[in-house]
């Protein structure tokens, strides 16, 4: 997106999705041009060919033609089904991050974007990502609905308060690309944008470890552990499971049995709801004793706590998510709502 380059018809193509979206666009543009032209030229031709030649002339007495009606129902139907299937297939890909995706956390608030990398580096209205690796953005909002939109990647997803939404892409071209908030979010909506920097993996690694504020060196899981202690979570959630609350070791990505007999998957949304609406789902064998932390922890702190809970997964190495478990959750890791 170089400014001032005149009228372009297609934006820069810089992710794994861009060629697919452009191909779909080109296909349907072709179909539309074909039919649009037939209809418009046909209209003009008919209007000219059958122009009135005498003031008292009347048109032919034709009521209709059923085979013709069937034809112009069936042919558009088939074409639209092609379009439907193609679009749905692409959509499923867009909503299914590969298991080995690298997670980056994004928090939207009026009117800025805050980004946290698991290794600890934070940035505002900028997003640095490595080239050629699937990146999954886990996004939360502190206030209203925002939307993270990178035109050059052809990806977009709303950032909805009260839940996590995700978006993934694999950047294919180094450079600097605009991202926008594309869900109207109040006064300075138009200013809530920034730049994605796609770096070579080596450059990205250097950037990650680069000299930032002192905070930058603490990983999110470590920050989360500190919070866990500060908020006195560990007094109930003992690691051996003998506390008043269930043990959190290995809980992330597992199936949790509830007091109602239902089983739910402990995904991002579940962890989030358990902190903010603790009585909504009670783990089997435990009492609804936990107080709510609604209003006591910020979105930033919540995702740090989450990173810590994730790091407690037995198979986890360091702060990385247990592969498969996290990524196989449905696109929206919301609660059951």
């Amino acid at each position: 997106m170089q400014p001032g380059s005149g009228i372009q018809l297609f934006p820069v193509s810089a992710s794994n999705f861009s060629p697919h979206v452009d191909a779909l666009m080109a296909f349907w543009l072709g179909v539309s041009l074909f039919f649009g032209t037939i209809i418009c030229v046909g209209l003009v031709w008919l209007a000219f060919r059958y122009r009135r030649r005498a003031p008292d002339e009347v048109g032919a007495d034709i009521g209709g033609n059923v085979p013709l009606e069937v034809a112009w129902m069936v042919i558009p139907f088939i074409l639209t089904m092609v379009m439907f299937a193609w679009g749905a297939d692409l959509f499923v890909q867009e909503r299914t991050p590969p298991p080995q995706s690298q997670e980056i956390y994004v928090v939207g608030k009026q009117w800025m974007w805050k980004v946290q990398h698991p290794e600890g580096r934070k940035e505002i209205n900028e997003l640095h990502v490595p080239l050629g690796r699937p990146i999954e953005l886990v996004m939360a909002s502190e206030d209203v609905i925002h939307d993270f939109f990178v035109p050059s990647f052809r990806v977009k997803e709303d950032v909805v308060p009260g839940k996590y939404t995700t978006l993934w892409f694999n950047a294919t071209k180094t450079g600097k690309y605009h991202f926008f908030c594309s869900q109207y979010c109040g006064t300075n909506h138009a200013l809530m944008n920034g730049w994605v920097y796609v770096l070579e993996p080596a450059d990205y690694a250097a950037w990650l470890s680069g000299q930032n504020s002192g905070e930058g060196t603490v990983s999110m899981a470590d920050s989360g552990q500190k919070l866990f202690t500060q908020l006195a979570c560990q007094t109930c959630h003992l690691a051996d499971g003998k506390g008043r609350g269930p043990s959190l070791v290995g809980v992330y990505g597992s199936a949790v049995k509830l007091s109602t007999g239902q089983t739910v998957l402990a995904d991002d949304g579940y962890i989030r709801e358990s902190i903010l609406q603790p009585n909504a789902k009670i783990v089997e064998g435990y009492q609804p004793l936990m107080p709510t932390f609604q209003g006591l922890v910020t979105e930033d702190q919540l995702i740090q706590l989450m990173a810590y809970v994730k790091s407690l997964a037995p198979s986890a190495t360091g702060v990385k998510t247990a592969p498969g478990a996290a990524a196989s959750t449905s696109h929206t890791s919301g609660s059951s709502r």
Binding site: N279, A280, M290, P291, T292, Q294, S336, R337
Partner: protein, 215 residues
């Protein structure tokens, strides 16, 4: 016939056409009403599915006996309303007036009991937006339950009050002897409305009062 001619409005051809139009109009209006409540029913369904346990717990704050009593009261009033229609069709003016009075009386009983329930909620700090207090860890969803409780029953009560107003107008005309076997459409239409309000309550009672009482 002179009576029904004065009742026939100028743009209709005859009485059957006018009656047909009025009746269809009322039914179409009731279809609209179903969707009006529908938005609230959807909100209820979504939230109850999200917080089944908290909804059940919060519903314990309602008095099931009062709710059941009110259900019976409304069914009785529907019965008397049905009889009012019957008597108006038969041209029995006194019986019609008595049936209407009974219907309105039962409606007032319903609203009185509803008012008692509301007063209790005010005393127990269960009114969202006014004095809501609840166990903090369940407060949000419980407040949703009570918002829906007041929203649904309040909208229902509003319909009852409007219904009482309509019945008052019908009653006045009935006392004047305006309804005959040839012309009883207003009684029939207000009956349709009254029964519709009853139907709404038939759903509200189990949805709001009878959530998992066995727990």
């Amino acid at each position: 016939m002179s009576e029904s001619e004065s009742i026939l409005r100028g743009h209709f051809r005859d009485m059957p056409q006018q009656r047909d139009a009025s009746s269809l109009g009322m039914w179409v209006f009731l279809a609209t009403e179903v969707m009006f409540f529908g938005g609230l029913f959807l909100t209820y369904t979504v939230n109850r599915a999200a917080y089944p346990a908290i909804f059940a717990q919060a519903s314990r704050q309602l008095d099931v006996t009062l709710g059941a009593t009110n259900t019976a009261v409304l069914i009785c009033s529907s019965m008397t309303m049905a009889m009012a229609v019957y008597f108006s069709q038969k041209g029995k003016r006194t019986a019609l007036v008595i049936s209407l009075l009974l219907t309105m009386g039962l409606g007032l009983v319903f609203l009185t009991i509803k008012g008692m329930e509301y007063a209790e909620k005010f005393r127990h700090h269960l009114v969202p937006g006014y004095n809501f207090q609840y166990a903090p860890a369940s407060a949000g969803p419980a407040q949703l339950y009570f918002s829906l409780y007041f929203g649904l029953t309040g909208l229902h009560a509003l319909h009852m009050i409007i219904g009482l107003g309509i019945l008052t107008a019908v009653l006045i005309e009935a006392l004047r002897g305006r309804y005959t076997p040839e012309y009883s459409t207003p009684v029939e239409l207000s009956g349709l409305y009254w029964h519709f309000v009853d139907i709404i309550w038939i759903y509200l009672f189990p949805l709001l009062y009878l959530i998992d009482l066995h727990r």
